[in-house]
Amino acid sequence: MIESLLAALPLPWPFEREYLQLALAGGVLVGSSAPITGTYLVQRRLSLVGDGLGHLAFAGVAVGIVTGVWPVWTALVAAVIGALAIERLRSRARDHGDLALALAFYLGLAMASVVLSRRGNVAANVQGYLFGSILTITRADLVVLAAACAVVAGVLALVHRALFSVIVDEDAAAASGIPVARMNDLLMVVTAVSIVMAMRVVGILLVSALMVLPVGIAQRLATSFRSTLALSSAIGVIAAVVGLVVGRVARLAPGGTIVLTLGALFVVVLVAEGPVQRRRQRR
């Protein structure tokens, strides 16, 4: 559907070429869906979990490169297994959740380093996964991205009420009969899928930024949880489009430019927030 939509749209500069249209579609898909997952993560105070999973996904990418399997699949397997392991560690030792993340950071990189050492020079293959390669997204990639983003959005819409209850008060949610442990597992698995999808756009090293920064901006502007979900998603899309345009005009890496756009938006909102709040208080 996305392909036929792109074919039907005579997009103007700077998206007049097919590879740029594919990048735009990929950016819009990931930019809209990653912050939805991020909204739940940030409120669960798990903003850094995406980075931990990104490092584990990198180990999966390494396995894919060495074995010849499409690295997105191996990254997905590594991230999902890692997500469930982190959640187990986190729930068993609540005060040591940061230790679980530290383990993911170190073990992910160490495993990737060891696995890649089995193969000769793989710098070129690896760079696209580390820093993103949105301009190389193919039509086949786009179909996978669209399917994954739809699954992520669909699952989160289905369990929104239960997840929100867990976020507000885990004990009360458990006492109400909500399967808290299963909800936490599900959120981690959805995060793993989002991470692997976002990996193509901004790269493993910046993957968490696309999930967390739009939420950091949106929650300063929105009043409700639902409006935060919608606004963070819109901000993700805006950043993806602006990042691609600026990246093309200034010949900059699009992944990094998308994240810098988010960073700039965050600073603007943070600076503007003070006067707006003071005006509200005077009323």
Binding site: L158, V159, R161, A162, F164, S165, D169, A172, S176, I178
Partner: protein, 248 residues
């Protein structure tokens, strides 16, 4: 004539230990409908453990817990219970309205079911927060947030409301409003209230019963009977620890 007193929460000879540390030792107590009960005791007395046993979040190492005549994990029993957690507070940045937080209290194991907005409105009115329904929860004071959490527990129209240290850090005026709300729930809706607190000054006049816990039930009776022992709830913070030392 035989008078059968219905109980909605019953602990029979309940013992509980965290590993090798015993917390409760053969605790027995029963809560009747439409009563206002305070559960007091020093830190580490096992008050929060009793709450978590009643909620089905912990299992006793010995003895039995019954909620509405069933296991506390039974969905039917859980649907009749409301719970206000210890020091509920959502930060200023938490992006949700009061209405969204209160409505989340209606979510249970059938989370996909639609939440009746009339029940949410009713719960908000019960705690005088109707006017702030669309305000951001983080913009509320500690006392207002605490009332929002009571509304969250009330949205399922529970028959038993359990509150675990809900007034910590709340000013005197908000505590008085809080006490009035709990008294009204018992009097007008027949809700049984179990309040775990270190500070009972605001609710002293409304209590039906006080249970003093220190690993075991040390006292179970009316506030006036406790006062006859020289323990006044209004100054409970000073009297109770001394008294517990004496009876230990």
């Amino acid at each position: 004539m035989l008078v059968v007193v219905e109980t909605i929460l019953t602990l029979r000879n309940v013992s509980f230990a965290y590993g090798a540390d015993p917390v409760l030792d053969k605790v027995s107590l029963a809560i009747a409908p439409a009563t206002f009960v305070a559960l007091v005791g020093p830190n580490g007395a096992g008050k929060s453990t009793v709450v978590r046993l009643a909620l089905g979040l912990l299992r006793p190492t010995a003895g039995t817990v019954e909620l509405f005549g069933e296991a506390p994990t039974s969905p039917a029993a859980r649907s009749r219970l409301g719970y206000v957690p210890q020091r509920p507070f959502l930060g200023r940045d938490f992006p949700a309205t009061v209405r969204e937080v209160v409505a989340s209290g209606a979510t249970d194991q059938h989370w996909w079911r639609r939440i009746d907005p009339a029940k949410v409105d009713d719960a908000l009115e019960q705690v005088d927060l109707g006017a702030l329904a669309n305000a951001r929860i983080g913009a509320l004071s500690g006392g207002q947030q605490q009332r929002a959490f009571i509304a969250k527990a009330l949205v399922r129209r529970p028959e038993l409301l359990v509150l675990d240290e809900p007034v910590a850090g709340v000013d005197a005026e908000q505590q008085e409003r809080f006490a009035a709300t709990l008294g009204r729930l018992r009097d007008e809706r027949g809700v049984a209230v179990v309040l775990v607190s270190h500070d009972l000054a605001a609710v002293e006049d409304r209590l039906d019963r006080v249970i003093v816990l220190r690993r075991q039930v040390r006292f179970d009776g009316t506030p006036s009977a406790l006062a006859a022992d020289g323990v006044h709830l209004g100054t409970h913070g000073h009297d109770l620890p001394r008294w517990l030392e004496e009876i230990a």
